[in-house]
């Protein structure tokens, strides 16, 4: 497609779609369209892949120098650890004091992307209000941040950063701050699956959900006669557009319906135009096909992201955030099997698929995927799994990423050492990087100005570096 055609179509669609919104002046629309055109080549998107439940960092990046491998195996009684011979140490730009880690052997594509410099590991980040040491915590000079160990609070801690009661996610707030250059906010923040999503809504920007099967229709009954009556259809339209409701629940329920009515057309066009784009592999002879591909809801969600990104002109965005939830990382029991046979196979296939799809569109430098999780897990086995911890590990993937390196310091697997807190039970990893530093680095790449960062990440200035350098 010639770019000029695309721009023309886009502009027409945009004007048509926006007319439904009401309240926008023609001048604002024109400026919006012009702005979108001007920045068509500078599209950027962040994809937040939430590993819901608390990723076990020690079963993801496995210590594999002799000393620390022996130490982690000793801690993980009853958990089936990969053999040392199956672990290939990753290269790092700093020596990490001789400590080495390897990706879990199932994470082959992830490792390839790391080796190609397209994927970085952020190691030892967690929910921190300010820098702490083990001594600070043991002597009471510092306290654990609230609710380390609670799933929902951990989710809040990495996706909202607000005080208790905060309802805005940093993805939505980042898009709020970019509104001047990304004025059509209808599709600025897209959620897929939408479980436990604390990331996507801002003060202004509201998440819109995209269906992984590509369904985007109007409210049934509004298109054409309803049970033979066009009057009935018109009355339904009137019911859903009522503006005189006073009850808060009535108003909010109507608002969700109205958001469907004003968005379905453009979303439907986007899905219709991308029906055959970047299909999920259907070759049943592929290794682990049944888990890695057929049942891979993460790959399906990432394909939906690909379809939205490919439709950025239709959706009229030059900056976007996406949220995907991947469940079942709360591996209290049967951990080795669950992570390896279910989660890692799917995650690895999905990451490889997504990077290849972006590359095929020439957009790998414009899109960065990152993982989050509410906490890492406890060092010591509970028999066949691990419990809620504190510090953990994440991946950042994309052409813009300064990959092939570990950001953060590896520590010795020694529960008596400085890397662990063991005051109130089994040892948990003390974070050396704050979630806010990790996420501010990502938001900055998306385009959030430095001056705005502390308003989204309120404790950022308590830490020495506000950006970690992986982007």
């Amino acid at each position: 497609m010639h770019m000029s055609d695309a721009v023309q179509i886009n502009r027409r669609r945009f004007l048509g779609g926006a007319a439904l919104l009401g309240g926008f002046s023609p001048l604002a629309l024109q400026m919006a369209a012009t702005s979108a055109n001007a920045q068509a080549n500078s599209y950027r998107a962040l994809v937040c892949l939430y590993l819901d439940g608390g990723l076990d960092h020690y079963h993801t990046l496995i210590p594999c120098d002799q000393t620390n491998y022996a130490a982690i195996v000793a801690q993980r009684s009853g958990i089936n650890m990969p053999q040392l011979s199956a672990l290939t140490p990753v290269t790092t730009r700093t020596s990490q004091g001789g400590r080495q880690v390897a990706f879990h052997p199932v994470l082959t594509q992830t490792k390839n992307l790391y080796d190609q410099g397209k994927l970085a590991v952020v190691y030892g980040h967690g929910n921190l209000d300010a820098p702490v040491t083990r001594a600070d915590l043991e002597t009471g000079r510092a306290k654990l941040p609230w609710a380390v160990g609670s799933h929902n609070d951990g989710n809040a801690a990495i996706h909202t950063f607000g005080l208790e009661g905060a309802r805005y996610g940093w993805g939505g707030l980042a898009m709020d701050s970019l509104q001047a250059s990304n004025p059509d906010t209808m599709f600025a923040s897209i959620g897929i699956g939408n479980l436990n999503n604390a990331f996507s809504d801002g003060r202004l920007v509201r998440m819109i959900k995209a269906d992984t099967r590509g369904r985007a229709t109007n409210i049934s009954g509004l298109e054409g006669p309803l049970f033979g009556s066009s009057v009935a259809s018109a009355e339904l339209d009137a019911i859903l557009r009522r503006a005189d409701m006073t009850n808060a629940l009535d108003k909010d329920y109507l608002e969700v319906n109205q958001r469907v009515m004003s968005s379905y057309r453009r979303l439907g066009e986007a899905f219709a135009a991308t029906q055959s784009l970047a299909p999920i592999p259907t070759d049943t002879t592929l290794p682990n096909y049944a888990v890695a591909w057929r049942d891979n809801d993460v790959a399906a969600a990432l394909r939906t992201v690909v379809r939205c990104i490919a439709s950025r002109a239709t959706l009229n965005v030059n900056r976007q955030v996406f949220f995907i939830n991947m469940r079942n990382f709360d591996t209290h029991g049967n951990m080795a099997n669950d992570l390896e046979k279910r989660n890692f196979l799917r995650l690895d296939a999905a990451l490889g698929y997504f990077y290849a799809a972006l590359t095929s569109m020439g957009l790998e430098n414009n899109v960065t995927l990152f993982t989050t999780s509410e906490f890492g897990r406890s060092l010591k086995s509970n028999g066949d799994g691990t419990d809620h911890g504190w510090g953990g590990v994440s991946f950042v993937m994309g052409g813009a990423v300064k990959g092939g390196d570990i950001y953060g310091n590896l520590v010795d697997v020694n529960p008596a050492g400085p890397g662990f807190l063991a005051t109130n039970g089994p040892p948990i990893s003390i974070p050396t990087i704050a979630n806010q530093q990790y996420c501010a680095t990502l938001a900055s790449w998306l385009g959030v100005p430095d001056a705005i960062l502390p308003t989204i990440f309120p404790n950022l200035n308590r830490f020495a570096s506000t950006k970690l350098g992986f982007l």
């Binding site: 799933h151 208790e164 996610g169 009057v231 339904l236 909010d252 329920y253 469907v260 968005s263 109130n424």
Partner: protein
């Protein structure tokens, strides 16, 4: 922990994978938002005063009032139920429900009454049979209050579907919640703790404190956060206690989690010959072998932790095993069992439990944002039912439903009152009024196509299959923006009412009105049809039809505008054939079901 006997179960029963939004500060049943300027009507009344006399006299003044009550207390008002409440009054109706026989079990339906009940089908993970057991019972059977309470309890004591020991765990949990719906909280906590379904769900089955490992903390944490006391110390009215600096006060620390985790050790299924004959199998008869065990109680084995332990201010001394004579397994087991009893007593007697559970239950029946006074009145009934019994669900339920804030419109702040109807409640309500049935007395709802859940009303809510122990939505969820946010309200059900969900609801209603509901069992499609008999007598007069539809679905809402919409739409179908009558009903029902007057129950 080892899992030699149930690899499938461990794979399929997803653990507490989730975490929810704590956009309101999170913890189970977050109460932080409820104290801000709400409940103006009842908010100021002290707890000791009896409900004021007036409009909440025991008999409803109108059929609309009766229907409104039934929509809070059942899965949806029908004409016959409205007549009954008009005749005997609210309190007698509740007593009648309390006295009603337990009714057939879900497991019985699942095993005996369904089509082609057999082992292969029982083991079929793609069958809709377990949800059909639920839909059939709640849609068609008379013990509505018990079933509605069971559904409410299932959203506090949450399992998330999947399989257990090769078979489905769902009917077991449906029965457990129904069995205990009119019992006591302490008994419920006991049954939950000793159920293999929860043992598997929260990974304390086979939990132990030895072999170089530490006890699994999963249950210790979630039983406190979600099933009993919540994260923050509460006043009796559900508002958070504050310290001198104005901060909320945590109810427990990580040390309490660790201490409690060693109590929940040693829990396991009985072995070998012991369990034969004592456990119920998939076919409702004594189990003969794996994987048939679905309704056993867990027992405490002698590898329960014998170390000293402390939690929530309670200390339990160690058991000196070295000093015991040989063959003291029974002593050790009794020690472990007693410790679990102490833990459950501690949680049931904790000062937080009454307001925490009271507020959660109020949200499931009447309103998302109860006034503190309403919470306190219900919590007081939890503390003492009037006869010195703590945690009597019957007394709690009666207070929830008969409280002035539930019954008396003048006690409600209309701008905030009510709850968003969750997809399943809306779906069952609709099936009840239209008398859905497959012709054999069963109600199916699931995938029409088999093997793929594309016919469901909402991907985000299937019966007894929440994504995690954090339920489908959180009690403290508040949307990021909009009117509820502006007013600092919580709207739990809004968490699964997103753009795709409202699209799906409209599609579901339209498709089922077109074709009836469908489900899948034994690889075959099951088909419901509707019987419009409940509404057909009114179909010739548009105003009457509108009134009767609104009575059943939207009682309690101001329906003046909606009624005018309905009348115009009904009048547009002018014929007098049977098909015309049915189309008028379909139009009235569809417009109503999509309206906020319906989706907000008040």
């Amino acid at each position: 922990m080892f899992v030699s006997f149930l690899p499938k179960a461990r794979v399929a029963l997803f653990l507490c994978a989730a975490a929810l939004l704590s956009s309101c500060g999170g913890g189970g049943g977050d109460s932080s938002l409820q104290s801000s300027g709400q409940g103006v009507g009842a908010g100021g009344s002290p707890p000791a005063l009896p409900p004021p006399p007036g409009p909440n006299a025991d008999k409803p003044a109108t059929r609309v009032e009766a229907a409104r009550f039934l929509n809070q207390a059942t899965f949806g008002a029908t004409g016959a139920d409205i007549d009954r409440v008009m005749s005997i009054g609210y309190s007698a109706w509740i007593d009648e429900q309390f006295a009603m026989p337990r009714g057939r079990t879900f497991r019985n339906w699942y095993l005996e009454d369904g089509v082609n009940s057999n082992r292969a089908e029982y083991l079929d993970p793609n069958s809709d049979r377990e949800s059909a057991a639920w839909f059939t019972r709640v849609t068609r059977e008379p013990d509505q209050l018990r079933l509605r309470m069971a559904w409410a309890l299932s959203q506090i004591f949450v399992i998330n579907g999947g399989t257990l020991m090769g078979g489905t765990a769902l009917p077991v949990w449906m029965d457990l919640t129904a069995d205990n719906a009119f019992g006591t909280y302490r008994t419920m906590l006991e049954k939950v703790t000793f159920s293999p379904v929860m043992g598997n769900m929260l990974s304390y089955l086979w939990n132990r404190d030895s072999n170089g490992a530490v006890p699994d903390q999963n249950y210790a944490r979630e039983i406190m956060q979600l099933f009993s006391i919540g994260l923050w110390e509460l006043n009796q009215d559900g508002t958070p206690k504050l310290d001198s600096a104005g901060n909320r006060i945590p109810t427990y620390t990580q040390a309490d989690v660790v201490g409690l985790s060693s109590v929940f050790t040693g829990l396991a299924l009985a072995t070998g010959g012991d369990r034969k004959g004592t456990c119920i199998g998939y076919n409702g008869k004594p189990a003969q072998g794996e994987p048939e065990y679905i309704a056993c109680e867990l027992s405490v084995w002698n590898w329960t932790s014998t170390k000293a332990k402390s939690f929530l201010g309670v200390s339990i001394a160690a058991l000196d095993v070295a000093k015991l004579p040989a063959n003291s397994e029974a002593t050790i087991q009794a020690y472990g069992r007693k410790n679990i009893g102490i833990a459950l007593d501690t949680l049931a007697n904790h000062a937080n439990t009454p307001p925490f559970i009271a507020r959660n239950l109020i949200q499931r029946f009447t309103t998302s944002n109860p006034s503190p006074a309403y919470v306190r009145r219900v919590a007081d009934k939890f503390v003492d039912n009037g006869n010195g019994v703590r945690g009597d669900f019957k007394a709690v339920l009666k207070q929830i439903l008969l409280d002035p804030e539930a019954r008396d419109p003048s006690q409600q702040d209309k701008a905030i009152y009510g709850k968003l109807r969750e997809p399943l409640l809306a779906q069952v309500h609709y099936s009840r009024v239209l008398r859905a049935s497959d012709g054999k007395g069963n109600v199916w709802a699931g995938s029409g196509g088999c093997k793929d859940y594309h016919g469901v009303i909402s991907e985000l809510e299937r019966p007894y299959a929440a994504p995690s122990v954090f339920n489908y939505y959180r009690p403290g969820f508040s949307p990021a923006s909009g009117e509820a946010a502006r007013r600092n309200l919580v709207v739990p059900e809004m968490q699964i009412t997103d753009t795709v969900a409202v699209m799906d609801w409209a599609t579901y209603v339209k498709q089922t009105l077109d074709r009836g509901g469908t489900g899948c069992s034994g690889g075959a499609r099951r088909q419901n049809t509707f019987d419009y008999g409940e509404l057909l007598p009114f179909a010739d007069t548009p105003t009457v039809l509108a009134d009767e539809v609104l009575l059943r679905f939207a009682a309690g809402s101001d329906t003046a505008t909606l009624r005018a919409n309905l009348v115009r739409a009904i009048e547009s179908v002018s014929g007098t054939t049977s098909a015309d009558r049915i189309n008028r009903i379909k139009i009235a029902v569809m417009l109503t079901l999509l309206s906020p007057e319906y989706r907000v129950q008040r």
